[in-house]
Each structure stands twice: as structure tokens, then as C-alpha cells.
């Protein structure tokens, strides 16, 4: 985050007195949060998720598992407390309701309960160490500021949000098809990006080195304002992963949406950025000449960006171009504008803390809701429920006691339902199977060992 926003100073809102109109003024504060954590935050579901099937019902369950997970809370006044751990859903829920954290982060599962870590730190044998942690990714739209002209920094609109959508598509497909992962949760970060939680057992047990390898596999966009070329695609053809991403997602999006919407070739300032990426100066000058001449005349009704892009492609991809480096130039341009820009550091280490889903973002008031990767085109960050909106919906709902869960009376219901059916239930089913299989295998092993 290179451009921190100044605090909005929204902390002085007062909640409505019950009995008055249902309207709840916009805001984010401890009073609102208290109600949110009291009635809406899905404590039980989070607990079930984090337990990964270790609910004690099967003899193979590890009862210590949930208690070894680190949570961290950021309280009002930016007080930050790490190494929080809980032994039951009740402890988790009570602590959240009592402390009312402005942000909850989830860390790894350690070898021992984090609360007891000091007892182990002395031995120097790394006995207090992370043993399991989801494979996570963090994509932030402010990392794309050099390719979007509609917004900068923390702002997001429907013109540039699709960059996040295609990032989800590329990464999600690869995680499933290439790496064989199944239990993947995508979450809106609340303001300007998305998080990804890969929860398969195999993923949770990856070492730091393996995580770094996966991050590097996805690492195509390299560089910053100091380096020149951010994307380099040498080789005669693209690796199948890159080729698939290009043909199935990136090319279409770039040509049909990004190019015309962001007017990438319409003005000199913008087309120069693309011309800079062409290693052959004579080709670049030829295009420059054509476009400078063409500034006011418009030959056809087609969008000028699309016309110019076709010109660029036809020169670069014509059989006449023998120069090395030109071969993949078109793909390099498309990749540099559209390929996912991941925060590498987030994914590499097991001990990286990441914000929990269903938290509320302090600056926008929006809830960090799950995103369906199969329908991510439909996701609209500007209509995600906000804290005040949810409280208002609760008020309107009246005194109905029959609803089992409060969130069903609000827009949050949809998100929780999705979380359960698409993610949590399949995950828990798979975890149970894993626990059973592992337990049976151990039984078999000890039977074998007993035979003299």
C-alpha cells in the first residue's frame, strides 16, 4: 500500500434508539459491530470450518486441533493482539462478542496451543512452529494502477473491477486443473481486492518452499516502475498454463473490454506505453506514424482502440517478422495489462496472517463476503451489503422469532448459504473421510505391528 488514505473519522456515529424509524445511518463503529457480532457474524460456521472435521465425534479426531489455531484481533484504537486461541466455539464467540474486534485475522495452526508458546520457545528446537495453514492468495486492485485510468488507489468501479474477475478465473482454474485442489474459497476483501483460501489437506500441509514454488508458478508479472519489461515470455510457445489463460480468459477480456473501456490506444500518452513494449523500434515507429496521422480522421465506425489494436497485431504477427522477441510481443502486451498480479509475500510463508471472511471493512463498511468463482462475472463490489444496511434490514425484519438465523432476514443470508453449500459442506465431508481413512490405516498398521 503506497498511498494510505487518511482516516475518514466515521467513528462518532450513534446508533438509532429502538422504536424509531428503521433507517440506520452509514458508518462503522463499535456499537454497530456489537450487533453484527451478536446476531449476524456466523461464529458456528467459522468454527466448523477451522475445525476441519475435528469435532470429536470420531475416535480419529484431533481434539487439540482447533485450539492450536492462531487468531489475531485488531481492536478499536488500533490495539493489536496476536496469538489468540480458543478451545471451543463458545470461547471463540464469547471472545469476539466481548472484544468486538475491528478486524479478525486468521493465522496458522501451530504445533502447540499458541497460548503456551512461551513454554516451548526456550528449547531452540523449533517446537513452537506452524504445522498447517491454508494456501492463500491476495490480489489488490491498487497494484494495477498503471493500467487503469478510471480509478486509482483504493477506489474501485465497475470498469476496473473486471480485472479482479479475470484474476479469479485464471488462478481458480489453475488451482483446480493443474494442482488438483478442490476446496477453494474466494472472498471479497471489503474494499479493493480479493483473497483466496485453498483448504485441501494437501494445501494446508504445504511447506514454505512448496508455497513459494506455487507462487512462482503464478508469477508472470515481474517488476515495478524501476524495471522496464514487466512481462517476458521467451520460448517458441507458451507453457500450457499460460496458453490456456491467454486463450480462455485474457485475450478475450483485453480485446473486448479493457482495450475500449480504458481507451488504451486512443491517446498518445496511452498508446506510447504499449509502443514501449515493442522491442523493434522500426515497428513501433511505423505504428506511431500511422496513429499520429490518423488522430482526427476516423475511417470506420469501429472503436478507435480496436482498429489500432488490429493494426498492431497484423504487423507483429505477420510472417515477415523474424526478429526474436517479436514473436510473443502481442501476448506480452496482453499479459502485462491483464495477467493477475499477486502479492507474492502473502502466499510464501505459513505464518502470514490473513483477514477472516465475514469481517467488516472499517473504511467501507462492507462485509467480506464469499465470491462464487463460477459466477464471478456477476459479482458487483458496489452492491455488497454494508454494516449499516444489514442493521437496517434487521430492524425492518421486526420481532420474528421463527427464523433460525438472523442473517436469513438480511442480504447476508445469501452469502452464508453459499458459504455453507458450496464450500463448507463439501469440505467437511472430505475432511471426515480423510480422518476416517487415516484412522483406519493406523489401526491396520498397529495390527500388523502386533503380529509377532
Amino acid at each position: 500500500m503506497t498511498k494510505e488514505e487518511a482516516d475518514n473519522g466515521r467513528d462518532d456515529m450513534v446508533i438509532d434508539v429502538p422504536g424509531q424509524a428503521n433507517a440506520v445511518p452509514d458508518g462503522f463503529n463499535a456499537n454497530y459491530l456489537r450487533i453484527y457480532y451478536g446476531k449476524l457474524f456466523p461464529h458456528a460456521d467459522m468454527f466448523k470450518w477451522m475445525s476441519y472435521g475435528n469435532d470429536g465425534k470420531h475416535p480419529g479426531c484431533d481434539k487439540s486441533y482447533f485450539g492450536r489455531r492462531e487468531f489475531s484481533f485488531t481492536l478499536e484504537n488500533d490495539i493489536y493482539i496476536r496469538f489468540q486461541s480458543f478451545n471451543s466455539v463458545t470461547e471463540l464467540e464469547n471472545s469476539i462478542k466481548e472484544k468486538c474486534p475491528f478486524k479478525i485475522d486468521i493465522g496458522p495452526v501451530y504445533s502447540v496451543d499458541p497460548a503456551k508458546r512461551h513454554a516451548y520457545a526456550q528449547s531452540g528446537n523449533n517446537v513452537f512452529t506452524p504445522v498447517e495453514r491454508e494456501l492463500v492468495f491476495d490480489i489488490d486492485i491498487s497494484d494495477y494502477d498503471d493500467v487503469r485510468y478510471c480509478c486509482t488507489g483504493a477506489d474501485v468501479c465497475l470498469e476496473c473491477w473486471p480485472l479482479m474477475t479475470i484474476a479469479i478465473k485464471v488462478i481458480d482454474t489453475s488451482l483446480r486443473d493443474d494442482f488438483g485442489f478442490n476446496h477453494i474459497l474466494w472472498v471479497y476483501s471489503g474494499r479493493r481486492g480479493v483473497h483466496c483460501w485453498v483448504c485441501d489437506g494437501k494445501a494446508r500441509r504445504l511447506t514454505n518452499e512448496q508455497r513459494a514454488a506455487i507462487a512462482d508458478y503464478f508469477h508472470v508479472y515481474k517488476g515495478n516502475e524501476n524495471s522496464q519489461k514487466k512481462i517476458s515470455l521467451p520460448g517458441l510457445v507458451l507453457h500450457p498454463f499460460l496458453a490456456r489463460s491467454y486463450t480462455e480468459v485474457l485475450k478475450g477480456f483485453f480485446e473486448a473490454k479493457l482495450l475500449p473501456n480504458q481507451n488504451l490506444l486512443a491517446s498518445e500518452e496511452r498508446y506510447e506505453k504499449i509502443l514501449e513494449m515493442i522491442p523493434d523500434a522500426s515497428v513501433a515507429s511505423e505504428l506511431r506514424r500511422r496513429w499520429q496521422e490518423n488522430k482526427r480522421a476516423s475511417m470506420s465506425k469501429d472503436d478507435i482502440n480496436i482498429v489500432r489494436w488490429e493494426q498492431l497485431k497484423s504487423i507483429l504477427q505477420s510472417g515477415k517478422q523474424k526478429m526474436q522477441g517479436l514473436r510473443r510481443c502481442v501476448e506480452e502486451i496482453v499479459f502485462s495489462y491483464t495477467y493477475p498480479r499477486l502479492d507474492m509475500e502473502v502466499s510464501r510463508h505459513m505464518n502470514h496472517l490473513l483477514k477472516a471472511p465475514f469481517c467488516v471493512h472499517p473504511k467501507t463498511g462492507r462485509v467480506c463476503v464469499p465470491i462464487d468463482p463460477n459466477n464471478c462475472d456477476e459479482f458487483d463490489p458496489t452492491t455488497v451489503p454494508t454494516l449499516s444496511q444489514l442493521l437496517e434490514e434487521l430492524n425492518r425484519g421486526g420481532l420474528r422469532q421463527d427464523a433460525e438465523n438472523e442473517w436469513d432476514r438480511t442480504s447476508l443470508g445469501e452469502s452464508v448459504a453459499f458459504f455453507r453449500t458450496s464450500f463448507l459442506q463439501p469440505l467437511l465431508k472430505s475432511c471426515k473421510e480423510e480422518i476416517e481413512n487415516s484412522y483406519n490405516a493406523k489401526l491396520q498398521q498397529s495390527k500388523n505391528d502386533l503380529s509377532w
Partner: protein
């Protein structure tokens, strides 16, 4: 002693020669005390040579030749048995030397793995297959039917690396992707549903990963034994040798600022202009310009300043003042002060972090919005030239420096810059930014008789 020693090749037997040990257990040999030290020093020369080669960004083919030359120069013996013994003994002695801290272990592991990798590659493919079965790697060769179904994708991967899928390479191994992180990392394999299709010539990676993981565990065990028994038992005999071996080769780590004691804030601007190496100058300029630095930059510059002699209180004041236009004092105290104190060993596990060496800085991958790393490696040519001119280099000097950069001799480039800026030679070469600083101050002091 479990040395894997295949039968000798002779015209009559027609069997393979391979003398590549896996260092599975300490040799029950008797070693003379002088050999204990000398064997280790010879091996250390090999490892240090490898370290230098990696620093200079040598390509794999160059590294291979380097390893051959280093081994021939330091470890060869006319009698194969003697050579193997020296190989094994020297390895185990160095384990004692390099097991003692995390940083030492990391270095040793990295160099030994690189050494092993290249030695393994040099073996014939029959020898490699034999070694693989020795390691008991349970990977199945891909059946013909399956090969046909993925042949296209395998061909794509090969061509993306500038190779061809020869018929001879039709032997592929299907292994879980977790086992070949470096192949995954470089997108050098086709992955599908969690399995990587590894070509015969990439099999090296499989074996190396096993080797690396084994040595890594062994080092931890060695450390435990060292701390609990060996060090005390051998305090009159081996321990002094072991401890001397370590410090004599790693050079000073600049964790305790030596000659210049303290630098205060008011001095920084001035010494930045005269005595900072380019990497730190760039970071320093950026923090003044942007009033912010991302984490990587804060670490690199912050630790450097600590090594230069900036006290904790001054460091806190410096960063706070520089960030002030973007970060309020309260926010600074909450979000940044902790990390600075952490760097000085006042928080958390109280590690006193050491400033980064050139090797470390060159090897990082700066991402979007980052300014750390080594400018000689990470800057585009244009940006680097401009930066050198700003440092006051003549165009002749710039050309000399760029020549080193094109040959990927980044530290030599920095050394030339030092010489050009100070008008005096630097024979030892630059290995550490703090060394640059100290040498610079020395030169200036001898010229002016005072700290410049």
C-alpha cells in the same frame, strides 16, 4: 559407511562408475586432526566458490563448469577411495561448523544442494537411474497410453523452454507436484490434477529435493548434538577448530557498528550523498520523495542504517519524520514503530537482525511498488544509467559499469562505481552495503581528516 559406490567400469565388466555419496551417516574412519581442518577448508573453498558464482547470476551451464573446476582444484585425489573419504569427511566436519544458527544452516544447505545437483547432472543416465533407485523414490514411469494422451502438452512445455520432445525422452515420471518445487516454480513441467510429468533429464530435481530435505533435517539433529554434548566434550580439541572455520570465511556481518559508533539523524542526508551504495541511495531518495516505502525497502534500508550506526531512537524519529506527510504520528506508532523496534531486537523473539549482504539483496525479487533489491540487477538499463550519472560518474565510467552489468557481475559493477565516485581503488570488492559505507568513510576521512 554407506557410500554409494557402484562397480567400476572396465571394458570387461561394462558396469557404471559412480562415486557420489549421499552422506547418510558419519564415517567410522579415523581422521588425523590436521586432515580434519584441511579437508574442511578445501571443501569450504568449493562451497564459497559456488556462492560467488550464484551471486554473479551465473547460468546453469556456467555453474556446472564452475563446479567441475572447483572440485578438480580442491578435492581431487588420484585414488578414488581417498577422494571419496575426503568428500565425506569434509562434508561432516562442515556440518558441525554450519549447523549452529539458522542463517548458517540455510547457507550450507543451499551450497551443498547446488554442489550435489551439478555433480548428479554430470553422471550418466544409467548411473542416475541407479542412484534414484538407491534413494528408493517410488515414482512410476508414465504408461504409453497415458503418454499419448498428454504428449501434446508435454511437447508444448518442452518447446516453451526452447527444447524438443525427442522420442528418446519418452520416458516420463509422474510425481506429486510437491516433490519437484523447483520445476513447478520455473514452469518447466506440465502439471495436471496435482501431478507433474517429469522428463528423464529433469529427474535431477527429484533426487536433489530428497537430498536437500535429508540434509536439512540432519543439520537440525547435528545442532542438537553439538549444543548438548559435542561442543563441551571437544572444547580442547575440535571445538576451537570448528569455531575458527566459521568466522574465517563468512566475513563480518556488520551487526555491531564498529568504527564510527554513532551516526545521528542530522548526519544522514550528508552521508547518504557521499557514502551510500546505489541500492541504499535509491531507497533513501524514494522515501524522501514518496514519504513511504514498502516492507522490503524498509527492511533493507532500515537494517543498513542500523549497521551504519543509527540508534533506535534516531531511527524511529527518522522514519516518523519521513512518513509524516502521509502517516500521522499516532498511526506511525501503531503500524510501523513495532517493526522498527523488532529490527533492533527489542520485540518478539528479540533477534538482532543483521543488515543484508549483497548476496541476499541481489537474490530478492522486488515486486510492484518496491524499490529494494540491487539496482545493478533489477533496474532497466535506462534507469541504471541515469542513476549512475546522478551519482557523478563520467560517461566512460558508466560504460565500464554497464559492461559489468551486462555480464551479470553486479558486485563488480558496484565496486567500479565505488572506485569512480571516490577516485580510489577497492581491491577487496564490494560484498556488503555496510562495507561500502565503511570503506567510503575511510577514504573520505583520510582525504579530509574528518567525517565527510
Amino acid at each position: 559407511m554407506e557410500v554409494f559406490q557402484s562397480h567400476r567400469k572396465s571394458s570387461s565388466n561394462n558396469v557404471i562408475v559412480s562415486i557420489l555419496p549421499f552422506y547418510r551417516s558419519a564415517p567410522p574412519l579415523e581422521v588425523r586432526l590436521e586432515d580434519f581442518e584441511f579437508f574442511a577448508m578445501d571443501r569450504l573453498r568449493v562451497l564459497k566458490g559456488i556462492s560467488d558464482g550464484l551471486c554473479r547470476g551465473k547460468k546453469p551451464e556456467e555453474m556446472e563448469k564452475l563446479v567441475v573446476d572447483l572440485w578438480k582444484a580442491n578435492m581431487r585425489h588420484p585414488q578414488a577411495v581417498e577422494e571419496v573419504n575426503k568428500d565425506i569427511i569434509s562434508h561432516f566436519v562442515l556440518r558441525l561448523v554450519y549447523c549452529r544458527t539458522e542463517e548458517l544452516r540455510k547457507w550450507f544447505l543451499s551450497m551443498e544442494t547446488t554442489l550435489f545437483r551439478h555433480r548428479f547432472r554430470l553422471e550418466s543416465s544409467e548411473a542416475q537411474r541407479a542412484l534414484m533407485s538407491e534413494f528408493k523414490l517410488p515414482y512410476k514411469a508414465v504408461s504409453n497410453a497415458e503418454f499419448e494422451s498428454v504428449k501434446d502438452k508435454l511437447g508444448q512445455v518442452a518447446r516453451s523452454m526452447g527444447q524438443n520432445l525427442a522420442a528418446a525422452d519418452a520416458i516420463f515420471y509422474k510425481v506429486p507436484f510437491e516433490e519437484v518445487p523447483d520445476l513447478v516454480s520455473g514452469r518447466r513441467v506440465f502439471i495436471h490434477k496435482g501431478h507433474a510429468y517429469v522428463a528423464m533429464n529433469q529427474v535431477v530435481s527429484l533426487v536433489v529435493t530428497q537430498f536437500r530435505s535429508y540434509i536439512s533435517k540432519a543439520l537440525i539433529l547435528t545442532n542438537r548434538k553439538w549444543t548438548s554434548t559435542i561442543r563441551e566434550q571437544e572444547k580442547d580439541r575440535l571445538t576451537p577448530i570448528v569455531e575458527a572455520l566459521c568466522t574465517s570465511y563468512l566475513g563480518p556481518d556488520y551487526s555491531q557498528p564498529q568504527e564510527f559508533g554513532e551516526i545521528s539523524i542530522k548526519d544522514i542526508d550528508q552521508v547518504a550523498k557521499t557514502s551510500f551504495p546505489l541500492c541504499m541511495r535509491h531507497l533513501f531518495e524514494k522515501v524522501k520523495e514518496d514519504h513511504h516505502l514498502k516492507h522490503g525497502g524498509r527492511m533493507q534500508l532500515g537494517l543498513f542504517l542500523k549497521g551504519v550506526g543509527l540508534k533506535l531512537d534516531d531511527a524511529l524519529a527518522f522514519w516518523k519524520a519521513e512518513f509524516a506527510p502521509k502517516v500521522s504520528a499516532e498511526r506511525f506508532d501503531k503500524e510501523y514503530a513495532y517493526n522498527i523496534r523488532h529490527n533492533y531486537g527489542r520485540e518478539g523473539k528479540r533477534t538482532d537482525y543483521t543488515p543484508y549482504s549483497c548476496q541476499k539483496i541481489i537474490s530478492v525479487t522486488p515486486g510492484i511498488g518496491d524499490h529494494h533489491g540491487c539496482p545493478y540487477r533489477h533496474f532497466s538499463e535506462e534507469n541504471l544509467r541515469a542513476a549512475l550519472v546522478r551519482m557523478g560518474l563520467s560517461s566512460r565510467a558508466v560504460e565500464d559499469v554497464m559492461d559489468k552489468v551486462h555480464n551479470r557481475h553486479y558486485q563488480l559493477a558496484c565496486t567500479l562505481t565505488f572506485e569512480a565516485v571516490h577516485g580510489s581503488s577497492c581491491d577487496a570488492g564490494i560484498n556488503h552495503p555496510n562495507q561500502y559505507f565503511i570503506d567510503s568513510q575511510r577514504v573520505l576521512q583520510s582525504k579530509n581528516g574528518s567525517v565527510a
